[in-house]
Assembly symmetry: C2
DNA sequence: TTGAAAGCGCTAACAT
DNA sequence: ATGTTAGCGCTTTCAA
């Protein structure tokens, strides 16, 4: 049975309100008294009960992090960064997995709402209007998607896709396939749009394949279509699909990058460890996690100042401060892309030379990414 | 401002205690009244405030999951499974990352203690005695380690290591290196012990290298030592180290499996995607997560029944029910192991043939692993 | 600078 | 079957 504020009060011979102040407003209590109280608290192993505190202050010092699929290697770095950032600010993090299910997503927001000061919605599958509606119940920061009027953190995959297509056309490719991601995914739409524009600008033809599940299996399942489409290069929705595709391409006799070049998106750890190493668009996922937490907590601080006596205001009306941040991406050139084969298409024997790995810009995976900020 | 129990009471014309009962003991309230209350609650979007409820019942319906490193691919499947299992039982999960730091670990248990009904300690780095002490503050289930008197979920890496060594000696290897993991890791000790026994039994020589960080870098850093030690096979503490080692071995001119065979442990997703595909000991991490949650919640249910009026009893004295579960592991043979080279050691040209992938037993990664149960 | 009192949202005896 | 009452651990006016 843990010590309560009353135990400490008794032990140090003061009223409980003095103990309370010692922890929540130390400057309001006599240094001497404070010392005594602190000593007793220490002695008894007392820690304020956050839940009880939340009941009256309206701030739980918890946040919720809702993830589409924890086991997808894209997410763990984001979760880790978000948790770390939150804890540094003395917040604890509920993590929940929706299994890509929009219904679970909504239910989770409701269930968590009372226990948190805000929710980070990562790669949401639900509709914009539902997100807006939920944001009136609890402050929301949306990750990997833009919703008008709500704070969002996205990564500039459009710019990344453009860089990828330019890299490919620069290598002489004129027929490129795009493996599209989940229907309704903001990221997928962005990629498609930008890739289309870039291909047109370079006079290349872009064939859209899919959509398919954003997994190795989903990518692998498109290998046959890739072969039939007679493209010489592929841009995949993400690294997992790219890697699955490469595997399957290999199985049907097409070599990467000799016969087909493949570019992924995300730069998950895995992409450095496959053979060939994957050329990919690095997305700053850790930075996204940190940024989202910062945005939420800043928002939270504002709300705390504004409302007295435990009011929970939701996104309310301070829309003026609602920022939308887009983080920069970076093309990382490794071994899965090469110059277009001389005869233009699949050959049984290996063809051109594999280029040594090098990078387009920057010294490595951006750890402190500067984001292009777009105020809404 | 979310609806409270009072709003519902007013709207449905009953006392708040009736509303309370409608949610926490529905059978005690007249079906008709219940219907009316439920309707009003629905109407108002009322949801019981768990924190307030916890204050009086002593049950938060939250659990804590403390992880050494979320970004380590070993953990996400465990986190996912634990969260899923917990939520199915109407529990929410705090996830926290310690960065492998024992101090952070302890701090986290303290900080979370008041907000959860129990904590899952995954791969703890702190001392046994400290774990025992903390278990008096909040119910604990230990994962990946055995602590006397506490509920633990482990995987039988000893058996796995033995199978790996037998596989290797069966292929003719007589000089085997063991890449040891973090000092003080229970898993690492188990592996070392079992591998030693198995090697001795087969008349093989076991050289222990390390300990080193359980990462690709840590594994890669040992490549030179592996070469100098003149072994023909290596068992690594985990897949990450195995993969890093293979990369680095490749860089210094040793081919896997032609020159050196390498076996990992864990069977992370990655191990199926590298070239060569990794032979490894599959550990049922998802099952471990589920099992740990079940053990904690069962414990919790017992405690709830035992203590009246919101007492938190810690592990207290019902040690008799404290089970220690060990989950079975399974050797998965892929492409990183082969018969020992004819001349016994490193050759510039590729040597023996790569065996086709096949499995020792079972149809795949054990999804529903049966655990050998050891009561303590 | 400290104490007294009220109350956050809810549950759990005890009455009725 | 429902209402009354007390109070979980804490913060926050308001007075002293």
């Amino acid at each position: 049975m843990p010590a309560t504020i009353r135990d400490v009060a008794r032990a140090s011979g003061v009223h409980i309100s003095t103990v309370s102040r010692t922890f929540s407003a130390p400057h309001l209590v006599n240094p001497e008294t404070r010392g005594r109280v602190l000593a007793c608290a220490e002695e008894l192993g007392y820690r304020p009960n956050r839940a009880a505190r939340a009941l009256i202050t309206g701030r739980t010092h918890n946040i919720g992090l809702i993830i589409a699929d924890i086991a997808n290697p894209f997410f763990p770095p984001l979760i880790k960064a978000a948790e770390s950032q939150a804890r540094q600010r003395d917040y604890h993090v509920f993590v929940a997995d929706t299994n890509e299910d929009p219904v679970a997503e909504e239910e989770l927001v409701h269930a968590l709402a009372k226990q948190v000061d805000g929710v980070l919605l990562c790669s949401p599958r639900m509709s914009n209007s539902l997100i807006e509606q939920l944001s009136r119940e609890v402050p929301l920061v949306v990750i990997n998607r833009q919703v008008a009027g709500l704070p969002c953190v996205t990564m500039d995959v459009g710019q990344g896709a453009r860089a990828a297509i330019e890299h490919l056309t620069g290598l002489g490719h004129r027929r490129v396939a795009l493996l599209s991601g989940p229907r309704g995914s903001w990221t997928s739409r962005e990629i498609r749009r930008a890739a289309g524009v870039a291909a047109r600008a370079a006079g290349a033809e872009l064939t859209v394949l899919g959509p398919n599940a954003p997994t190795e299996t989903g990518g692998g399942a498109l290998a046959e279509q890739v072969r039939r489409s007679e493209v010489t290069a592929v841009l995949a929705y993400n690294d997992l699909m790219a890697i699955g595709l490469i595997e399957e391409l290999d199985a049907i006799g097409l070599r990467v990058p000799q016969d087909v070049s493949v570019v992924g998106i995300d730069d998950i750890t895995l992409s450095r460890l496959t053979r060939p190493k994957l050329t990919t668009v690095a997305t700053p996922t850790a930075a996204a996690g940190r940024t989202a937490v910062d945005m939420l907590l800043q928002h939270d601080a504002v709300a705390a100042r504004g409302s007295r006596g435990g009011g929970r205001s939701g996104a309310s009306d301070d829309r003026r401060t609602t920022a939308q941040v887009m983080l920069q991406t970076e093309l990382v050139i490794r071994d899965s892309t090469a110059a277009v084969p001389a005869d233009g298409r699949p050959r049984p024997e290996a063809g051109s030379v594999t280029p040594g790995p090098h990078r387009l810009a920057g010294p490595g995976r951006p750890t402190a990414t500067t984001g292009g900020v777009v105020a809404s």
